[in-house]
Amino acid sequence: MRDIGVSGGAKRRRGSLKQVWTVAVYNFRGWHRNPRIIITFALAFILCFLLSDKAVKFAEEYKTTMQAVEAFVWTFGDSNSILLASLLLVLLFADMPFLGAGVPYYLSRMRRSTWLWGQIVYICAATFIYIVFILVSTSVICMRQSFIGNMWSETAAILGYSGAGKAIALPAVVKTLEMSTPYECMGTIFLLMLLYTLLLVSMMLAVNIRRGQFWGVASVFIFSLYGFLINPKTFNAFMHLTDEQMYIANLWAAWVSPLQHATYSMHNFGYDLLPRLWMTYVIFAALICVCYVSALRAMRRYNFNFTGTD
């Protein structure tokens, strides 16, 4: 009897997992010839082109080569670039909570929580694809003068050690060069950016389900504005801080701003009081989980209002 119960439970779980997967895939099927999706990725490519332009031009000017992922590292090691790329993602999820005319048909064949898990899987997968697209785009943009070996280029050395990076506002700091290899650094920045954007869209989903579509989008802008304002450079611009005050502002911003958490150089690599990378990963993961738990709880009383047609 017990064996039958266990196998029945396992079968139900497998069935639910399959339903979750089907919901996620169903959303991806909606990408087919979808102008909104095409525009999002086209704009993302243009954004990468504009943001990585400084690094590419610098290499061209000095006639030096670049490592294939360096354009990504220098561009998205900066909080403002992360902010712009993450805001563009809102366009990808503008139809959140994904209640098209086909939804009643598959919704009626599952449970509310299964449907929401499907949306969560979709959001995570789509965000991952988007960040991979950004990584590939920046690599493609600088491919004419790049190499794939896992070592920093001459361009990186000039940017980092000569202070030229600071002069042209590229975050090529010495600690980046000395603490890791290009691919390792790329992996870390990719993960930070992925977690930050995931937090952003997870929050959008939770607020969307709790408070409606308007507040879902508004929450993204409020969250981004908060991240943008809690920035040591902003503090300095308004309050003209001394070096010591600037140090404290830097520390404070690094801990309380999610955008600074997503910035590679705002972490402790062994010689200051900034958050360590693993701490940021844990904080982001915890906040993302809070968003999903909040969404799942709200889903129990959620009213589905289907919109649009196919």
Partner: protein, 213 residues
């Protein structure tokens, strides 16, 4: 008399606007129940409440003795057409129904093919749904509602967009479903459909439900 759906003192409001007001009614099993009313009277909201998509502000709805929103999220054994049928436009009708059927994994491809034939469509056509006429989509919507042989059908304007022949065929189909023992709730603006098909008729006006027949 066996009750398939019991609606008990249901109120529903959206941001202070009351859309359903103390709706109470028992829908008998094995019959076709008509629901009439003007646009915005609350018909679709009531149907969505029965389906579990909307939860009543107060009151209870029981479907096959299970309270919707408490004992189950959405009623088991329910087929539905609500609003405009929405399908993935790049796939054929058959592929769309196969995707939906895979969620419950209860029926075979052969059953889906037979259902598509039953509503007057060709299961072997490669034509994508995006190129279907409204009438063909409506037929496909009916096919997805009945393919898993549910005991309860919620049909909101199922004959919309169908030509004369289509309407005749679908009326015959709905009658045959009743003969199979299904309980059907049919919302329609068309008085002829209601008169010809329905055993009982209720009218909703400004959220208040009245039994007409």
């Amino acid at each position: 008399m066996e009750t398939a759906i019991s609606v008990q003192h249901v109120y529903k409001d959206f941001k202070g606007e009351q859309v359903l007001k103390d709706v109470t009614h028992d829908f008998e099993a094995g019959k076709i129940h008509g629901l009439v009313g003007n646009n915005g009277s609350g018909k679709t909201v009531l149907l969505k409440c029965i389906c579990g998509f909307l939860l009543p502000s107060s009151g209870k709805i029981f479907v096959n003795c299970k309270q919707v929103g408490k004992d189950c999220d959405f009623p088991d054994n329910l087929g539905l057409i609500i609003e405009t049928p929405g399908f993935l436009p790049q796939y054929s009708g058959m592929k769309n129904l196969e995707i939906l059927a895979s969620l419950k994994n209860k029926i075979s491809s052969e059953t889906i093919r037979n259902t598509i034939r039953r509503v007057g469509l060709d299961p072997d056509t490669k034509k994508p749904v995006g190129k279907y006429s409204l009438g063909m989509r409506q037929r496909l919507g009916i096919a997805q509602a009945i393919m898993e042989d549910p005991s309860l059908l919620i049909l909101d304007e199922p004959l919309n967009g169908l030509d004369k022949t289509g309407v005749r065929e679908m009326r015959a189909l709905i009658k045959s479903l009743k003969c199979d023992g299904k309980t059907i709730i049919l919302a329609s603006h068309n008085q002829v459909d209601i008169d010809e098909l329905c055993d009982t008729v209720c009218e909703i006006d400004a959220g208040v439900m009245t039994v007409i027949r």
